[in-house]
C-alpha cells in the first residue's frame, strides 16, 4: 500500500543550528512529493514540491529538500533555524490520482 513515513515525531534544535527532517515514501513509481508546514493556529502552508527534474528543490522560508530515488526519501533541510520555524511539518505524496497521502508529522521545537 502507498504510504509516507516521518520517523521523527518530535525534533528539538537550537536556534541557528541546521535542521533535517526525514521523510520516506512507499509507492510503486515515483510520486509527486510535498512538504507542508502548520504553524500554531494556522493552516497548512506549502513549503516546496517535487514533480520531476532537479532532485534538489528550493522552497520558501529558506527550506530545501532533496529527492533520493535509491532511498525513497525526500528529506527537508534548512541550514540555520529561526525561532519562528517552530511548527509541525508534514511530508505528503500523491500519484496520478489527486489524493494526498500524508506522513504523521514532525513537531519542531526551537531552543533559544
Amino acid at each position: 500500500a502507498q504510504s509516507v513515513t516521518q520517523p521523527d515525531i518530535h525534533i528539538t534544535v537550537s536556534e541557528g543550528a541546521s535542521l533535517e527532517l526525514r521523510c520516506n515514501y512507499s509507492y510503486g513509481a515515483t510520486p509527486y512529493l510535498f512538504w507542508y508546514v502548520q504553524s500554531p493556529g494556522q493552516g497548512l502552508q506549502l513549503l516546496l514540491k517535487y514533480f520531476s527534474g532537479d532532485t534538489l528543490v528550493q522552497g520558501i522560508k529558506g527550506f530545501e529538500a532533496e529527492f533520493k530515488r535509491s532511498q525513497s526519501s525526500f528529506n527537508l533541510r534548512k541550514p540555520s533555524v529561526h525561532w519562528s520555524d517552530a511548527a509541525e511539518y508534514f511530508c505528503a505524496a500523491r500519484d496520478s490520482s489527486y489524493k494526498l497521502i500524508f506522513g504523521s508529522g514532525t513537531r519542531l521545537l526551537v531552543r533559544p
Binding site: 509516507v4 510535498f34 493556529g41 493552516g43 497548512l44 489527486y98 494526498l100 497521502i101 500524508f102 504523521s104
Partner: protein, 112 residues
C-alpha cells in the same frame, strides 16, 4: 487573492448532534478536497470534488458524513449524527488543476 477559508474555526457539539462545516475555495479552483486529522493520527483524505461532482469519495468513513458542493463553489461537510470518534481537525483544500493543493486553516471539531 483570498485563500481557502473554513467556517467555523471551532465547533463543540454533543454526541448525536449534527454539525455542518463549510469551505470556500480559492476563486476559480475547480478542485476541492476534504481531509481530516483525528487526534494523534496522520491527515487523511476524505473526498475530492471537481466542480460540483464527487470525483473520489473513497476516504469518507461512513454514511454519517455527507459532502456537497452545489454550484461548484463552496462546499459543506455534514456529520449526522456525530460520534465521539469524529473529533479532530477537518481541512479543506483547493487546486486549479492536478497541481498543488492549497489548504485552509481547518475546523476543529470536538464531540462530547
Amino acid at each position: 487573492e483570498a485563500g481557502v477559508t473554513q467556517f467555523p474555526s471551532h465547533s463543540v457539539i454533543e454526541k448525536g448532534q449534527t454539525v455542518t462545516l463549510r469551505c470556500d475555495p480559492i476563486s476559480g479552483h475547480d478542485n476541492l478536497y476534504w481531509y481530516r486529522r483525528v487526534m494523534g493520527k496522520e491527515i487523511k483524505f476524505l473526498l475530492h470534488f471537481v466542480k460540483e461532482s464527487k470525483q473520489d469519495e473513497s476516504g469518507m468513513p461512513n454514511n454519517r458524513f455527507l459532502a456537497e458542493r452545489t454550484g461548484g463553489t463552496y462546499s459543506t461537510l455534514k456529520v449526522q449524527p456525530a460520534e465521539l470518534e469524529d473529533s479532530g481537525v477537518y481541512f479543506c483544500a483547493s487546486s486549479p488543476t492536478a497541481d498543488t493543493q492549497y489548504f485552509g486553516p481547518g475546523t476543529r471539531l470536538t464531540v462530547l
